[in-house]
Symmetry: none
Subunit: 231 residues, 2 copies
């Protein structure tokens, strides 16, 4: 189940936007186009793009602003951003990278260079997209079919447990605090008790470890939880 990556183009100059759209579609991407910053945020929110190509000079909402909002906590997917800047805007470029852009291309650009850059960013930031699945140890999580398996057998998880496991498995071994998990899984705008994380971890464990004796979820006292592939 390999869906073509979805690219959002944010560019106010119509000819350039169309050129990009044409070439990217030929390359196999699904493409949306936004003409200004507000539209960009709207489309990003509902389209869940896998990658954003962002022009730096925009009407209504500056590129940096779009970049920052895309990067805000609601975007737990950490969508990679490639910005387009005009020659000589060194300061903007650096600020862009600081704000969370992943790469930039200087206008005017060779289409082939842009495509190469996009491929590179995709590979670097979301290797997971190449295959829709994450696997660690004997646990497999499939984003496409929304399924989790342990040792080949289906495991039923609630939506929150699924996202929790997904987030933990994205960085195996890494310990996340309850606050980090709340931010990433629940979102920064809702307030829930930190201990709620514990309860969901418990439910996740019960579902995941039924019939197994190794628990891949590690508790680190007064620090948080992590997903470990073993020992």
């Amino acid at each position: 189940m390999q869906m073509n990556p979805h690219v959002l183009i944010v560019e106010d100059e119509e000819p350039i936007a169309q050129l990009l759209k044409y070439n990217l579609e030929k390359e196999g991407y699904r493409v949306s186009v936004a003409g200004d910053g507000e539209e960009a945020l709207l489309l990003a929110d509902e389209g869940k793009p896998d990658l954003v190509v962002l022009d730096w000079m925009l009407p209504k909402l500056a590129g940096i602003e779009v970049c920052r909002r895309l990067r805000s906590a609601r975007d737990s997917r950490n969508t990679p951003i490639v910005m387009l800047t005009a020659r000589g805007e060194e300061g903007d470029r650096i600020r862009g990278l600081d704000t969370g852009a992943d790469d930039y291309v200087v206008k005017p650009f060779q289409m082939s260079e842009l495509l190469a850059r996009l491929r590179a960013v995709m590979r670097r930031i979301r290797p997971a997209l190449a295959d829709d699945k994450i696997a660690a140890g004997d646990v497999t999580l499939d984003r496409g079919s929304h399924r989790v398996k342990r040792a080949g057998k289906d495991v039923h998880l609630g939506p929150t447990e699924f996202r929790l496991l997904e987030y933990l498995m994205q960085h195996p071994g890494r310990v996340f605090s309850r606050e980090q998990l709340l931010d990433a899984v629940w979102g920064s705008e809702v307030y829930v008790e930190a201990r709620t994380v514990d309860v969901h971890i418990g439910r996740l464990r019960r579902a995941l470890n039924a019939g197994h004796d190794f628990d891949p979820i590690r508790t680190v006292r007064s620090a948080g939880y992590s997903f470990d592939v073993d020992g």
Copy 2:
């Protein structure tokens, strides 16, 4: 996030300042508070904060001015700045980002959002502080996975022992007094007996040296302790 980053809050409204202080400390930051711009520059100079939270509306010295001076040559550390602005001050916001602020949060804000933003800025600007491993001799300490190994084998440490070792390993060979260690590991706001450090050093030694004959922790009589990589 454990070798607690130091945050300087510049905010003239006392209740907000206290709220911030409380939450940031709970999050594990060390916190200083400045009530106006002049105090801010003073504290920034002597406290060497890792991050500054800067209110835009200040008595005596406007936020933008503080921002500019923090950014001037004296601050070679390029300390990241997050500014707090009131809703609708778009112009200020942009000028702030131009002046060198790294991000902003609009008042009123959700605490969780601010915390997330601070974490993001820290990650972006100083990955070394938030992440990575320290190694010295045959001991490795990994902040990300919260693990300590001696000669490749896992060593289990309590939270305090972990932070203690982390602090010592950051400056191998350097001797820290009990007071310094209390300040850095326990925090300046709690009062505990200086001898408590001894007990934790003992526990740390027992865990770290099990099955080894070289003790990397050196006692310097009437001075303190240090982590030494070799005899």
